[in-house]
Amino acid sequence: MELMELSPVQRAGRWLALALGLLFTLVPVFWVLSVAFRPAGSFTFPVGIVPSALTLDNFSIVLFGAKGIGLRPYLNAAIYGLSAALLTAIISSLAGYALARYDLRFGRALLLMFLALNFLPAAARVVPLFLLYVRTDLYDRQIGLVLAYVAGATPLGIWLMAGTIRQIPIRLEQAARIDGAGAFTVAWRILLPLAMPGVLVVATLAFVDGWNSFSLPLILTQRPEVQPYTVLLRQFVQPSEGGVDWTLLAAGSLLGVIPVLVAFALLQSRLVGAADVGGAVKG
């Protein structure tokens, strides 16, 4: 993209828009941050924006305290996030390849359907899923939850992977075949490295889905052993027993945000930088 010369007014306008956007996204984050590090009990009216004292107690209470939820819910969320990421990446890559490379009779219709599925409100599938799960004995089981996440993430994943694979010249596959590579070697050594930016996007989206989801585990599970932190944090919200424990809730939520931030920080450059497939063809 070429950078245009902007007049000072335009430049000021752009800065203003950016600043407003940042304010809108960052203020809640700062708010959670500021609450999570306050000593318990200091969160009383009138609430100051800047905490009077800082402490890490809230985090240790959430993870290890008697009042806390323990490590297990975070481990559960990690299991859901990682399994969803892995399965979604595999299924989306294979299906995306088929749709990108083979001249399927209903290929275009299928792709459009996958895209349309993304616009289906998540709430619309909760009740049917619940009924289905109760009847198929998937209810309250980890595998059931993972399957639900994968089912939710694959439509967009397939759509993205079909687009990614279409960007990879078919010549490269032919060249690899000529070089003696079978289907698996072509996929592993040529396609996967070149499709990696797309795979990472798909896997990251699925991971965030599985890690963050609240409504699906709330409805599809009931044993605390299999529930993720998102559901269990609710025990800090109990108006009947003295209200909301804001500092613990903030600390617990913050623990949930960290892995997502770390994942994005690690993948950032690879997510943004598209595949350098252009170097393959012509000069």
Partner: protein, 365 residues
Amino acid sequence: MRVAIEGLTVRYGPVVAVDNLSLTIAPGELLALVGPSGCGKTTTLGFVAGFTRASAGRLLFDDRDVTTLPAQRRNIGYVFQDYAIYPHMTVAQNIRFPLEVAKLPRREADRLVAQTAELVGVGGLLSRRPHQLSGGQRQRVALARALVKRPGVLLLDEPLSNLDAHLRAQTRAEIRRLQLELGMTTILVTHDQSEALAIADRVAVMSEGRIIGLDTPAAIYARPLSLLCARLIGAPPMNIWALSDPDAGFPKQALAPVLEALGSAAARTVVGVRPEQVRLGPTGLPGSVRLLENLGRDVLVHLEVAGSQVRALADPEVVASLGPGTSVGVSVSPASWHFFDADTAVRIEPPGRLAPDGVVVREEG
């Protein structure tokens, strides 16, 4: 290795891309498939490589039927028009890939990669990435990757068309040198007839899915067997006139005695003469110069003679005094004319003293 294509037909729906084509390439031979785009030459190459599904036909390597053998098991080297170098690998990794897939011992692979890189002149680029290479360098890497496993057959699909003119001439000689050195059976697909004439042992001219001429470069140049061959081979292209056309004044006058012998058949005859065999001088039919194109070694002179447009290739000294509007004598040795049947477009031998022996063969390649 000998490569034999037998009765290859490729249909895409109602379109016949290749029509019952048979062709045998001798061991160590470089055969060029030449023709306009869409003539089926790349489809034919794809059949040898294993990319193209044939509607009918067989492929033999020596005496082994490999028609249904998948591409990865044919031991072929293939240089793609756009090179198809793996963008995520270094030059060394690219060249090494076929050996790695074949699970060659590391030391042996190292040796072959180094040797092949040296052979094609990319020894100094081994740690570079494809996007750091020029077009010519990429072409060489593609060639090294094709050669490293010492394939039985080398397939070249327009390997020079993405290079600039200077590099093209240099690289085609290089390819020929390597091919002779390694004694590899090679099929070169090109739309550039000069490339084919320059380095091929034999040239197959293709049109509409068939081979319409197959011979050594010298023979196909001197005795084109069909009108299309005559049009496609040779640059600048042959002067061609249908004798029934009103603009055929020049050949009619120049060939008057021959046409008499042909009698009524003359009206169904097409004649041609290569620009380099049109002589300019004090004698001959009076022609008037329209335009001069300086080609460096030669000058291409556009003339009007007896109502016909004639192109003649001449020495710069001969035409030094000429300019647009000036007059010059135009003549053609009778043996230099080519005759074709207007209906079948097939070469015919003229009656009388224009025996095939009289045809001047210009050595080429």
